[in-house]
Symmetry: C2
Subunit: 197 residues, 2 copies
């Protein structure tokens, strides 16, 4: 006997599929499940099945939704489109509350290292929205990383020729940070893009 | 909208109950589930329910089992009992393959810090086995930590008066380690318990 009994091994194998979870962590999770009340394990299993069954992608922007079209696309101004990498980025932006437009989720970023090309992320869908919805502005809100910048550049080169204004989230020093701890690239960007007051 | 849609929030809440999982990790796991095939999510959910339904504790030693009595208790010599903190410790010991006795799982260690007393771990069950099964030797295989040592001392004080031999796993330098990297306590133990060759 080098392994746990079959039902435990099966559960450990399932937990090991989660991102960043190895056998040790999976074993810890499996222990937790076995030591939980039957009712809570049933709740957990139904939450999992429900999430898979009920959550769809908005047919317009690709955000998570329970309906065909998500709330933001139903209410927001479709002529303004904010392009993000993942649905969770929409949550962050929605906290700001002063954006009245819609979003577009790429579901990934261009990454030659990981073999993700323009066909693997939702760029085609963005281009068809631009021609269908009279889009006037595309705001690139991909993260300020190498991949995020490359994706923003790539998309702006496709979108600009269509006569659409393309903007990018401003880069600079964050609110509340001490200047001495700001990295050089950010500080250099902040200096380059300094504004008159 | 500061949160995800309800089915996702529910799943994130469930994942957050796992040990050491915060909202960020739980969100990552929930993403993974939503992006998985329906079939694999169903397999995951059944593995969870099966583990909870099929896994019981051996009525003799407290190890995980699908039956009333686990394999080791069915086959092993019940007069020799190796006391461990958790079922996973049995796996480690069984890999050695040259132990023919049985085990006893405490399901925890004495810990005043975490409020775990002798009533909270399976010491009573061990004592009743000693009187019922003609136990001749109790091997303390609790981990070499403060709590593990304290638990071993506590149990040995209860068991010795019953005329049973109590032993403890030897402590010393591990195979293959460089002496310069061995901690002082271990080295001092290894010196104290040096053997003639």
């Amino acid at each position: 006997m080098k392994n746990f009994i079959l039902p435990i091994e099966k559960l450990i194998a399932e937990f090991s599929h989660l991102p960043g979870v190895g056998r040790k962590t999976a074993t810890r999770y499996a222990y937790h499940i076995i030591n939980s009340e039957t009712q809570s394990v049933q709740d957990f299993a139904s939450a999992m099945l429900d999430a898979k069954r009920l959550v769809k992608y908005c047919s317009v922007c690709g955000n998570f939704t329970e309906n065909d079209i998500c709330d933001t696309c139903a209410k927001g101004d479709r002529r303004q489109v904010c392009v993000v990498a993942e649905p969770k980025d929409i949550l962050a932006l929605e906290k700001v509350r002063d954006y009245g437009g819609t979003y577009h989720v790429l579901h990934g970023l261009l990454s030659p290292m990981e073999g993700r090309t323009a066909e693997d992320i939702h760029i085609k869908e963005l281009l068809s929205r631009i021609s269908n919805d009279n889009v006037t502005e595309v705001i690139m809100a991909t993260p300020p990383t190498v991949e995020g910048e490359a994706t923003a550049m790539y998309i702006s080169k496709l979108v600009k020729p269509l006569g659409v204004k393309v903007t990018r989230l401003a880069q600079g020093v964050s609110m509340g940070t001490e200047l001495e701890y700001v990295d050089e690239v950010t500080l250099s960007k902040a200096l380059d893009e300094r504004r008159e007051i």
